[in-house]
């Protein structure tokens, strides 16, 4: 079967003879003459290509998700419903009639939110998601909704006002009715088509583990893709040709989240937006890192498992998961095994995955009452940026205030994801949790890491920040409101007043 099908603005689209790594953006513009959706960067960093995808949420009503169409491969849409800016206006009405426009569109007109108009369709689609969200309670959520949409003209003030107008509006319209009734169809895909000048490409999307193992056995060189926010760049930026791609979109079992008395079990295929939504502020360190992870659009496609298996030394999830003491459940055709997150990363972009294993579940234990866990991220820009330095820190004290457990995991400081500052930890373990001891241990961070210099930061800056974050962690650990979410931070640390 070489045909894909999905629904675009409520119209069924059948796609035949197109290779699987064709992005939705290119398909919209090149094949469907749907040019309202713009290409601004082809890497998920500007949001001009934002579209809305309906998503099922087990136990809750389905919802729209704003996503970057530049990083969506067509098979990921199999059996799903997609909305673009063209689908929002009622075209049976005159273009001069405001009644024909969606509230997200009208809000942008009323607030003067468009100037050149090029980012506008993407912003409208992010606002479209916000219109139907049922969790828009706090003011920071409007910024969070829009942090993946760059605008170079307005300075954002009117766009934020438009967001405030429509967030959580949930009008009783056709879009809401469609949303509430939504059921995804079978996501199974197995298509083969010519990939431009590069030869043939097969794209398989199994819907069961058995089918996955079989596909992997038949295609040992196949590349795996989950949300596509990382692999997508290898297609759009580096123009790599993948002869066989196996997509994990169809594996519902990877998208389960469970809460047990011990902690959380999060399926590797759960999107980071969903993690934020379900786990939320119950794990403040995780929640904080997610707010500053990519953008809403990226998080709605990026998966927890994907951020682990790419084993990037500048990935944002590994340090905080390492601090939380997470355990990774791996599954392959030979069975299941569990590894500590620190044993999972074995080198630069290397993991301990063997054979046909995939990451299946991430187990995150509860943080005990006598412990404090925090996450930090320092980047050039707060939103939608890659870390210069990231850190996850965990300390557990005994009744005498002596350090019983400590985990200081850094990103951006070495070639391996979630590198532990072992010497620093050793210097603090078994000692009192005091400012003097912290300051004595800070130079040890330099013994732990020899960071690189690149276009994000110098080695010196990385080292200074890595040391200061430890001091910041100590300062924060003494705050009464240490687990409260800082929605409008000055810096990643909340140090408090006088030392």
């Amino acid at each position: 079967m070489d045909t894909l099908q999905f629904w675009l603005n409520d119209r069924r689209i059948e796609v035949t003879g197109v290779n699987g790594t064709t992005t939705l953006l290119r398909y919209l513009r090149d094949h469907l003459a749907a040019t309202g959706t713009k290409e601004g960067c082809a890497e998920g960093d500007c949001g001009a290509c934002t579209v809305a995808l309906l998503e099922e949420r087990p136990g809750e009503t389905p919802t729209y998700r704003a996503v970057n169409s530049c990083l969506l491969f067509l098979p990921m849409l199999q059996g799903k419903r997609v909305y673009t800016v063209e689908g929002l206006r009622d075209r049976s009405r005159s273009p001069d009639d405001p009644e024909g426009y969606h509230p997200a569109q009208l809000a942008m007109v009323e607030t003067r939110g468009s100037q050149c108009g090029y980012c506008t369709p993407g912003i409208v689609m992010s606002l479209f998601e916000a219109t139907y969200r049922d969790d828009m309670g706090a003011d920071w959520q409007v910024d969070d909704q829009l942090c993946g949409n760059l605008c170079r003209c307005t300075g954002y003030k009117p766009i934020r006002e438009a967001g405030e107008k429509v967030a959580g509006l949930r009008p009783d319209d056709l879009f809401k009715a469609t949303m509430e009734q939504y059921r995804a169809r079978d996501a199974a895909v197995d298509i083969t088509a010519r990939d431009g000048l590069d030869g043939m490409q097969r794209y398989i999307q199994p819907t069961s583990f058995e089918a996955l193992w079989q596909a992997r056995a038949e295609n040992p060189g196949a590349v795996l893709v989950a949300g596509g926010t990382d692999l997508g760049l290898r297609v759009t930026k580096f123009r790599e040709h993948f002869p066989v791609v196996i997509g994990l979109e169809g594996l519902a079992e990877l998208r389960e989240i469970e809460r047990s008395p011990m902690g959380w079990q999060i399926g590797a295929g759960v999107s980071l937006t969903r993690v934020m939504e379900v786990v939320g502020e119950e794990l403040p360190a995780l929640h904080k890192m997610l707010r500053w992870f990519g953008s809403r659009q990226v998080r709605s496609r990026a998966t927890l498992g994907g951020n682990l298996v790419n084993a990037s030394p500048i990935g944002d999830m590994p340090p905080v998961l390492a601090a939380l003491g997470a355990e990774i459940e791996l599954r392959g055709s030979n069975g299941t095994r569990h590894v500590d997150i620190e044993d999972f990363f074995t080198g630069y972009r290397k993991t301990c995955l063997e054979g046909d294993e995939i990451v299946a579940v991430v187990h995150i234990p509860n943080v005990p009452r006598n412990a404090f866990c925090a996450s930090y991220k320092v980047s050039k820009r707060r939103e939608l940026d890659i870390s210069a330095v990231a850190a996850g820190m965990y300390v557990e004290l005994d009744d005498a205030g002596v350090v019983r457990h400590i985990r200081l995991a850094y990103g951006g400081m070495s070639a391996v994801a979630a590198s532990r500052a072992r010497r620093t930890e050793a210097a603090l373990l078994g000692h009192s949790w005091t400012r003097e001891n912290i300051e004595a241990a800070m130079p040890m961070v330099d013994a732990d890491f020899l960071p690189i210099a690149d276009h994000r930061a110098s080695a010196r800056y990385r080292s200074t920040v890595a040391r200061n974050l430890l001091l910041g962690f100590w300062l924060e650990s003494h705050r009464r409101d240490r687990d409260a979410f800082d929605a409008h931070p000055v810096g990643t640390v909340r140090p408090g007043g006088v030392a």
């Binding site: 800016v85 890659i386 931070p489």
Partner: protein, 777 residues
């Protein structure tokens, strides 16, 4: 009913923006047989081309043509002012990425594969890959520009206080959301139609015609709209249009050239980085007695607009301050980097940050209130009213603006709050700063200050509006519709704005230098008045009165009566006629219902060799107050609040102007803080996509941001008393940078600690550590 002039309207395309129906060049319907083009760039910053071979490239399936320099039928040059910029390098290359070949193919994929297969061998030559290497080698473009007044050396020597130093400012990528794009469709009888995302259709037309070896009349260039320009599409659009036209001519098929983001960022020009040196003498009150400064602009490998940009840098070295003795020298440095180009402010910001740094440093050195020092140095009555280049500063509005802003921003109370905060916080420091802006309005190449319009009234009273200005989001079309509606007395809904085309108005200037509405507005109003004058007798005849008895909707600020639900065009003695009625009657009477309007700015001129003249028609003013908080552990920071009072004259369109002020401030803030261009040792840009080059995002913008347009601010001699607004507010962001420097200083004993431009987190942490080191002595 009232005139729409001065009203706060949405952008004229707002409904089309939000519905995705607004079309940009790359959105135009695919023409049958469309081909696309890709450029092959140099891999060396400088070198001699020793071999070029396209044989392998031509083998790639889907390739139609591969061009080298010798395949260009006309002139191989796209230098806009100085003809030093070959479209395709023939024997030498001067920067990484400089075009050596151009490939036309069925698809971008085929074109890219073929581009990779074009064999170009380059023998490397020594290169100057940054501005400091260029200064050391005295590698300059054009003559040094000197502006001098008074006895600089003597007064420097005698001044009670003297300081010297350097200021460097970084470049900036425009990051218009729409990358460069051009589409060329060959016509018959040696003609071609080009759609280009350009601020300067006439220059695209000129250069396409030159490349093809044709007269300009055979080339029609149209710009539907741009997805942002900011100066980046003033000269830099031409090359892509030339490539598309060459491809279309050779293949006989439509050819599109659209740049992906990485190519756009790395291969087209950006804001000029400046290196400046100053020597200032001042008295005990902080009054500047003497200033000598040298400004060096990194022009890159070709002249482009660099000389004019440098000039504007020098013209803004005074900002709002009277400099009794002054010597300013400017140099454009030729380096082996991408040729830098226009960017909002056009050198003005790079000059202004130097004088603001100097004033701040003077105040700190004397322990005086920096705002008071600024006020003491402001322009004032004669003889304190002449700029270094001799222009009289008329109607200086900064005293008034600063008074109003200090009150609106509650400046005094907040200063006290900040002091209290800083006293009780070791790891965080706050600061607030007020800085002014005075910005000269006009193209400093005086002949460019001209514009044309073509207004067509149809016999049913509906109107088509054409003028030479382009729409890039700044709201020019909206303003011109308002001007046309007001001048013609036509309802806005009956006027259709046409895309800018060289076929409608010839020999236009770029939509640049903030001049779009000043120049085109006058031209539109002139055209409208001509038509009105012809229709008045017809209206009088229809109403049976003499023309003196008529009241017209045209240029009427009062109430306009309606007739059958339509606004009246003319009325007398209780009866009225609509525009439709008058137009129809005029047609029947063989009256011409269309007119061209033309405008040139009077009484300006500048002698560059003498460094004297009146380059500007007038000055725009504004001031801002920014409050920041800096984290001493990481150098991260937050803008807490911004207050702005800006002088847009009597605004033509208040919401458009407010949007320009807010957007310009934030864009200026990006230049001064987050936006860092990082280059490799070949002078090639490493930060060539938004993953590594960070323009402001929504969370960077404070929730408290108040923009107030100065009231009762009519500017004589400008269209309906308005003022240009595109560039001046960009420099309002300097107050944030000044506040950042003060916040960093607050980590130490309070001595002035300069902060780099851009003030990245890393630069701020560096400043914090320097401040702390001062405390330790």
């Amino acid at each position: 009913m009232k005139t729409v002039l001065g009203r706060g309207l949405p952008h004229e395309s707002a409904l089309r923006h939000v519905s995705g129906e607004a079309r940009y060049v790359d959105d135009l319907p695919h023409a049958p047989g469309l081909l696309v083009g890709v450029v092959v760039g140099s891999t060396e910053p400088r070198g001699r081309i020793t071999r070029r071979d396209r044989a392998r490239a031509l083998q790639v399936p889907g390739v139609h043509a591969v061009f080298f320099a010798e395949d260009i039928p006309g002139e191989n040059n796209v230098g806009p002012v100085i003809h030093d910029e070959p479209l395709l390098a023939a024997w030498e290359v001067s920067c990484v990425g400089q075009a050596v070949a151009f490939v036309v193919a069925d698809s971008y994929e085929a074109a890219r594969k073929a581009a990779a297969a074009v064999e170009v061998e380059i023998e490397p030559l020594p290169a100057l890959t940054d501005i400091h290497a260029g200064i050391a080698a005295e590698s300059f473009i054009g003559a040094t520009h000197v502006i001098e007044r008074g006895e600089v050396d003597a007064t420097l020597g005698e001044a009670p206080h003297r300081l010297s130093g350097t200021v460097d400012s970084g470049g900036q990528e425009h990051f218009y959301l729409e990358t460069h794009a051009a589409l060329a469709i060959p016509g018959e009888d040696r003609s071609i139609q080009v759609w280009s995302s350009t601020q300067h259709p006439s220059e695209v037309q000129t250069l396409v015609a030159a490349a093809l070896g044709w007269g300009r009349s055979r080339v029609t260039v149209e710009c539907p709209r741009m997805g942002g320009g900011f100066g980046g599409k003033e000269t830099q659009a031409a090359q892509w249009a030339c490539f598309a036209a060459l491809g279309a001519l050779r293949t006989g098929r439509p050819v599109k050239v659209w740049l992906d983001r990485d190519t756009d960022m790395s291969h087209t020009g950006r804001r000029h980085p400046f290196h400046s040196r100053y020597d200032v003498g001042f008295d005990d009150d902080g009054r500047i007695l003497s200033l000598a400064a040298d400004l060096y602009a990194d022009g890159g490998w070709a002249a482009d607009l660099s000389l004019a940009i440098l000039d504007r840098g020098l013209f803004h070295m005074d900002n709002g301050y009277w400099l009794p003795n002054v010597r300013l020298r400017g140099f454009v440095v030729r380096t082996n980097r991408t040729s830098n180009t226009a960017f909002r402010g056009f050198g003005g910001p790079q000059g202004m940050v130097v004088i603001e740094h100097v004033v701040e440093r003077v105040a700190h050195a004397l322990g005086l209130d920096p705002l008071e020092v600024r006020r003491r140095n402001f322009y004032d009555e004669a003889p304190h009213d002449r700029t270094p280049y001799g222009q009289v500063v008329e109607d200086f509005r900064l005293h008034r603006i600063c008074d109003e802003l200090a009150e609106r921003s509650d400046l005094a109370a907040r200063r006290a709050e900040i002091e209290a905060f800083n006293a009780s916080n070791d790891f965080r420091k706050r600061a607030i700063a007020l800085t002014p802006v005075k910005f000269g309005i006009s193209f400093t190449a005086s002949f460019l200050n001209q514009a044309g319009a073509l207004v067509l009234v149809y016999a049913d009273g509906t109107v088509q509006l054409n003028h030479g200005g382009t729409e890039m989001g700044q709201g020019l079309y909206t303003k011109m519709l308002q001007v046309c509606s007001h001048a013609l007395g036509a309802p806005l809904s009956d006027i259709v704005h046409q895309p800018t085309s060289t076929g409608k108005v010839p020999n236009t200037s770029a939509t640049a230098a903030s001049s779009g509405s000043d120049l085109n507005g006058q031209a539109v109003a002139t055209a409208c008045r001509l038509i009105v004058a012809r229709m008045v007798p017809v209206a009088a005849e229809l109403l049976g009165v003499s023309t003196e008895k008529l009241t017209l909707a045209s240029e009427n600020q009062g109430d306009i009566p309606t007739k059958d639900g339509k606004p009246a065009w003319a009325w007398a003695e209780g009866r009225s006629v609509t525009l439709a009625e008058v137009a129809s009657a005029a047609y029947m009477r063989q009256i011409q219902l269309f007119a061209a309007g033309y405008y040139r700015t009077p009484d300006i001129g500048y002698d560059r060799s003498a460094g004297k003249g009146k380059p500007f028609h007038y000055f725009a003013y504004g001031a801002s107050v920014s409050e920041v908080e800096v984290d001493g552990l990481t150098g991260e920071w937050r803008l807490r609040r911004v207050d702005i009072v800006h002088d847009a004259g009597d605004s033509l369109s208040t919401d458009i102007d407010r949007g320009q002020v807010e957007g310009a401030y934030v864009q200026g803030l990006g230049w001064l803080t987050w936006e860092e261009l990082v280059f490799d040792d070949r002078g090639f840009l490493l930060t060539h996509s938004p993953s590594t080059y960070k323009i402001p995002a929504i969370g960077d913008i404070p929730r408290e941001m108040q923009v107030h347009l100065l009231e009762r601010a009519a500017q004589p001699g400008v269209i309906y008393g308005s003022k240009a607004v595109g560039e001046p507010p960009f420099m309002l962001a300097i107050s944030a940078h000044t506040a950042l420097s003060r916040a960093c200083s607050a980590f130490g004993p309070g001595d002035f600690v300069p902060v780099a431009i851009p003030a990245t987190n890393e630069a701020l942490l560096d400043a914090v550590e320097r401040a702390k080191a001062l405390a330790k002595g």
